[in-house]
C-alpha cells in the first residue's frame, strides 16, 4: 500500500535546515582536525622530551667511557711511542744492505790466487778495488765471476778494468771499477 507524504513546510525552512546540518558537519570536521593536530603536536613534543632525556643519558655514558680511556692513558702513550719508534726503526733498518752485500760479493768472488789489496765501496754499492795476481788465469776467473749473473747474484751491472800492470816478481797489479745494479 502506497503511503502519501506531504511536506507542508515552506521551502526556506527546508533550505535553512540543510544549511544548518552542513554547518554542523563542517564544524565537527574542523574540530576533529584541530584535535588531531593537537594530538600530533603533543606526540612530537613528548618525542623531543624523551630524546633530550636519552641524549643526556648518553652524555653521561660518554663521560664514563672517556674516564675509562683516560685511566689507561699511560698505556696508550706507550703504545703510540712504541709504534712510532718501530716505524722509524723499520724504515732505517737495512738501508746499508747494498754496501755490505757488494763488499761481501767482492770478497767472495776473489779467487785464492788473487790478492785483494785495496777496496772501497761507496754508498751506492759501486766498488773500486785493486788486486795482485801471479797469473792471468786468476784475473780471468775473477772477471768471469763478476760478469756472470748467476755468480754475481745479479748485483753487478758493469765491470771495468781501470788499469793493469806487470810488476816485479811477475805479479800483475790491476784495478777494477764495479758498478752495482740500481
Amino acid at each position: 500500500m502506497n503511503k502519501i507524504s506531504i511536506n507542508l513546510l515552506p521551502q526556506t525552512v527546508l533550505l535553512e535546515r540543510i544549511q544548518s546540518s552542513k554547518l554542523s558537519l563542517v564544524n565537527k570536521l574542523s574540530i576533529g582536525v584541530l584535535v588531531l593536530v593537537i594530538i600530533l603536536t603533543v606526540g612530537v613534543l613528548l618525542l623531543r622530551i624523551n630524546q633530550n632525556r636519552e641524549s643526556s643519558k648518553m652524555m653521561d655514558e660518554v663521560k664514563v667511557a672517556e674516564d675509562k680511556v683516560l685511566s689507561f692513558r699511560n698505556k696508550e702513550v706507550a703504545v703510540y711511542a712504541l709504534k712510532n719508534r718501530l716505524d722509524a726503526i723499520s724504515s732505517k733498518l737495512g738501508t746499508d744492505e747494498k754496501v755490505k752485500t757488494m763488499f761481501n760479493l767482492i770478497v767472495y768472488l776473489t779467487p785464492p790466487e788473487v790478492t785483494l789489496t785495496d777496496v772501497s765501496v761507496d754508498k751506492n754499492g759501486s766498488i773500486t778495488a785493486s788486486f795482485n795476481s801471479k797469473s792471468l788465469a786468476g784475473i780471468d776467473k775473477l772477471f768471469l765471476g763478476l760478469s756472470n749473473k748467476e755468480t754475481n747474484m745479479n748485483l753487478v751491472s758493469k765491470v771495468d778494468l781501470a788499469g793493469i800492470s806487470l810488476g816485479k816478481e811477475s805479479t800483475y797489479r790491476f784495478s777494477l771499477r764495479i758498478a752495482a745494479v740500481k
Partner: protein, 227 residues
C-alpha cells in the same frame, strides 16, 4: 551588517580559523621540532658510535700488558733514542769492535747528518784486523743496540801480513720524540705482526748502557771519548 556577513559566510569561518591554527602549529611547532629531532638523532648516532669506539678502545688498552709494553718501549728507545746519546753509540761500537777481534785505530765524530732531513750523526771509524773479522764486524752492526748505517767501506790490506785497515764511515740514527698530541677518539696504534717480530729480534740484542761498558772491553780508547 556584521550579522548578515556572519550568516552569509558562517560555514567558512570555523574551518578557516581551525585551518589557520593548524597551519600555525605545523609551521611553528611540528616542523621545527621534527627537524631538531632528526638533527639530534644524527648526533645521537654519532655519540653512540663514539661510546662504542671508546669502550672498544678502553677494553683493548686494558688487555695490553703494561710491563711488556714498557720493556718493548725501553728496547726501542735504546735502539733509536730520542737524542743523540753519542757516548752510548760509542760504547756499542767499541763493544762490537772488540767482539769482532778488531782494533779500533781511530774514531771521529761529526754532528752533521749525512742525509738531509734525517736525524743522525756521523762516526768515521778506522779499524785494524783481518778480513773475516771485518766482515764479522759489518754483519754485527745490524744486530747492534743502536741503529748504524754503513755509508761506505774502504779497506787497505797490509802487504804480506793478511791484515788490513778499514775505514768505515757510519751514520748513527736517533729520532726526537713525536710532538703529536693524542686525542681521545684517536684509535690505538696497532702493532703489526711484523713489528712484533721486529721488537722481539731487537730485544734479543744486548742492550748495553754506557755505564756497563768498560775500558777493558776495548783494545783502544777511553770509555768516554768525549771527556
Amino acid at each position: 551588517m556584521v550579522k548578515e556577513f556572519y550568516l552569509k559566510y558562517r560555514i567558512y569561518i570555523i574551518p578557516s580559523v581551525v585551518g589557520f591554527i593548524c597551519l600555525a602549529i605545523i609551521i611553528f611547532v611540528i616542523i621545527p621540532q621534527m627537524m631538531d629531532f632528526f638533527k639530534d638523532k644524527e648526533k645521537a648516532d654519532l655519540v653512540l658510535n663514539r661510546i662504542e669506539l671508546l669502550n672498544k678502545k678502553s677494553s683493548e688498552l686494558e688487555s695490553l700488558d703494561q710491563t711488556k709494553l714498557e720493556q718493548d718501549l725501553v728496547t726501542a728507545l735504546t735502539v733509536l733514542p730520542t737524542g743523540r746519546d753519542v757516548p752510548q753509540a760509542m760504547a756499542v761500537l767499541q763493544e762490537l769492535v772488540a767482539k769482532s777481534n778488531l782494533t779500533l785505530k781511530s774514531t771521529s765524530y761529526s754532528s752533521s747528518a749525512k742525509t738531509a732531513n734525517q736525524e743522525n750523526f756521523s762516526f768515521a771509524i778506522s779499524v785494524a784486523g783481518s778480513l773475516p773479522a771485518t766482515r764479522n764486524f759489518l754483519n754485527s752492526l745490524q744486530d747492534a743496540a743502536r741503529l748504524f748505517k754503513v755509508e761506505s767501506i774502504a779497506l787497505k790490506f797490509q802487504s804480506g801480513e793478511g791484515s788490513l785497515v778499514a775505514d768505515i764511515p757510519l751514520s748513527v740514527y736517533y729520532q726526537a720524540a713525536p710532538s703529536t698530541v693524542l686525542t681521545m677518539d684517536q684509535p690505538i696504534a696497532e702493532i703489526t705482526e711484523k713489528e712484533n717480530t721486529l721488537i722481539q729480534s731487537l730485544s734479543k740484542y744486548k742492550i748495553q748502557s754506557v755505564a756497563e761498558s768498560s775500558a777493558s772491553s776495548t783494545p783502544l780508547g777511553k770509555v768516554d771519548l768525549f771527556q
